[in-house]
């Protein structure tokens, strides 16, 4: 780092290890996002499944 200007290209280069470092961080981000999104989809699935079951039972009555 040279005083006030932060050297972004040096930062992204990661001393030559850019591929390994940023792939690691990228996959981590993906896993975190999936861990948030999948249960949200799961919730919608459970709710619609129960709703369908309720409707089916009402029709049978």
């Amino acid at each position: 780092m040279n005083g006030s200007e932060f050297n972004w290209s040096e930062f992204f280069a990661m001393g030559g290890y850019a591929f390994f470092v940023w792939t690691s961080y990228g996959i981590t981000l993906l896993v975190i996002v999936l861990n948030i999104v999948m249960p949200m989809i799961g919730r919608k699935k459970v709710i619609s499944r129960v709703k369908r079951a309720i409707r089916r039972e009402q029709l049978q009555q």
Partner: protein, 245 residues
């Protein structure tokens, strides 16, 4: 005492209470995680041997710790479910499995991406890596038993038993770097001496570990709520709740 446990571990009570709890884990997880990343990527100095590549540690080690921690939560919950028939315990175990598997996957992949530049290979069949891979298969085995057995109580019994037996793998993973020759470096934090790590690296590592733990707490609650709804789908409280949504 027993009545008290029964009341507070009822899936309906859990479902109502947990909704309020989730932000108390999720928001600190985000704040601490962002701060930990900032310290780890921008403030911590490069390693004198590994240069910048060591920065993978800030996700690799927390992910690996969580892979073990979540497994213990899962196995203990499954044990409580087996012995005392507390339904919420089985819900927590089932909700933990996919999260634990994802952390294990992350530990393996980031370790592999760190191994390539440092060891010259993505993978070796040594004790640490192999036992961690077995951990991933234990999670998969638990999930497969959960989803393939129709009767929920039977599914909990079979998968719970697998989870408990699999606990023997946990000390093997931890001590593998001492018991066998390996490329994997020894413990730098979890040992009785003081950690052999610079404080500027140690602090972001511990912050990231805390953020991962809080993240797990938030996500496992979300998953456990789904699981509680699904398991009680034929009970009145779920029917009444769903009709309002």
């Amino acid at each position: 005492m027993w009545n008290w446990i029964q009341k507070f571990s009822s899936p309906k009570y859990f479902y109502d209470m947990s909704a309020k709890l989730i932000p108390w884990f999720a928001i600190p997880a985000l704040v601490i995680g962002v701060y930990g990343l900032y310290l780890g990527l921008f403030v911590a100095p490069p390693d004198y041997q590994q240069g910048e590549s060591y920065r993978i540690i800030f996700i690799h080690v927390p992910a690996a710790w969580m892979s073990l921690f979540v497994y213990m939560v899962m196995a203990i919950s499954a044990g409580i479910g087996l012995i005392w028939q507390i339904r919420l315990a089985d819900v927590v175990a089932a909700a933990s499995a996919p999260i634990g598997a994802s952390f294990t996957f992350l530990a393996l992949v980031t370790g592999s991406l760190w191994g390539k530049p440092m060891w010259g290979t993505y993978w070796v069949w040594d004790a640490r890596l192999t036992s961690e891979l077995i951990l991933l298969f234990l999670y998969f085995g638990y999930m497969a038993l959960q989803s393939s057995i129709e009767d929920q109580r039977q599914a909990d019994k079979a998968s719970g038993l697998l989870a408990i037996v699999g606990v023997v793998n946990i000390p093997i993973i931890h001590y593998s770097v001492e018991w066998w020759n390996t490329l994997h470096q020894g413990a730098t934090v979890a040992k009785f001496d003081k950690p052999s790590m610079h404080i500027d690296m140690l602090i972001p590592l511990l912050l990231m570990a805390l953020a991962f733990k809080l993240f797990y707490a938030a996500v496992v609650l979300v998953r456990a709520r789904n699981e509680a709804l699904y398991r009680d789908r034929n009970r009145r409280w779920v029917r009444e709740l769903i009709e309002k949504i």
